[in-house]
């Protein structure tokens, strides 16, 4: 007979490497959810995920309206790829997504990051990606705790009951 014992999750380290609206939100919802549960939370933004913590971009993230097979028209019909390519459509779709989220009391990206840090969660930017995109510390949102290397992030991920989550 096998016995299963449960070990409660103590720490989560979440990696966000993609910059579309839904990818950044996935990381933020997971992170804030963990903070709300009293779980120690660290989020590492890298590559295009950096848009989520870059002052200029964070309030203006988009959902891809081209090459996104899961996207549908209101009512459920498939969203034609060619329609998605028309200028302004992607912005419109993204705006609609944001409005729908607001109705569910889902905060904006900057507000979400504020909530996570207010609850004790920590936000980090990837040094390599910051260098690659030629960003400076002041380009990043003030709630970012530090710009660190991958190795430094892994050092923060130690301890029993820790999970690394790649969104």
């Amino acid at each position: 007979m096998t016995t299963t014992e449960e070990y409660p999750l103590k720490k989560v380290c979440i990696i966000c490497a993609k910059g579309s609206l839904e990818d950044v939100y996935a990381a933020l919802v997971m992170a804030n959810g963990a903070v709300m549960e009293g779980i120690e939370t660290k989020v590492f933004f890298t590559f295009f995920g950096l848009d989520g913590i870059t002052k200029k971009q964070m309030s203006n993230l988009h959902t891809a309206s081209v090459g996104n097979p899961a996207m549908r028209m209101p009512g459920g019909l498939p969203f034609p790829t060619l329609l998605g390519a028309i200028p302004g459509v992607e912005a419109g779709v993204s705006k609609m997504m944001r409005q729908e989220m607001e109705k569910l009391d889902i905060p904006t990206v900057p507000e979400f990051i504020e909530m996570i840090t207010a609850g004790g969660g920590e936000i980090f930017a990837c040094k390599l990606a910051v260098d690659m995109f030629k960003l400076r510390r002041e380009d990043l949102c003030d709630d970012v705790k530090d710009i660190i290397t991958v190795g430094q992030f892994y050092e923060l991920c130690g301890g029993q009951g820790t999970q690394i989550i790649f969104t």
Binding site: N32, M36, G38, D105, E111, M115, A118, G119, G120
Partner: protein
């Protein structure tokens, strides 16, 4: 379902300690549960609990964000008032069911 006595009131609670019937709650009951959680209640705590009970009575979802916008306490303050998992702890102390919110 279990029963528990707080401040002389027999309360129906589920296995996690959340109230089955929020009418069985009063301030003294809250103080007794708080003591069990090593927490000393202040007026601010009660204001937050009143806010949560009002929202639930109106059938609205409980979110950390809504508490931050309540004008009673900011989010950092909410985490300080109810350390650990504040929404869960605050709803438990307020005699409400376990919140099912993701935000």
């Amino acid at each position: 379902m279990a029963q528990k006595e707080y401040a002389g009131v027999m309360v129906e609670v589920n296995n996690e300690g959340y109230f089955e019937n929020s009418n069985q709650w009063n301030k003294e009951v809250a103080a007794a549960i708080a003591k069990e959680n090593n927490l000393e209640l202040t007026d601010k705590h009660y204001q937050v609990m009143d806010f949560l009970r009002e929202r639930v009575a109106k059938g609205e979802a409980l979110t950390i964000r809504s508490i931050g916008k309540s004008g009673i306490v900011d989010i950092k303050g909410f985490y300080e008032l109810f350390p650990g998992a504040p929404l869960k702890l605050a709803t438990k102390l307020a005699g409400l069911k376990k919140p099912l919110s993701c935000v």
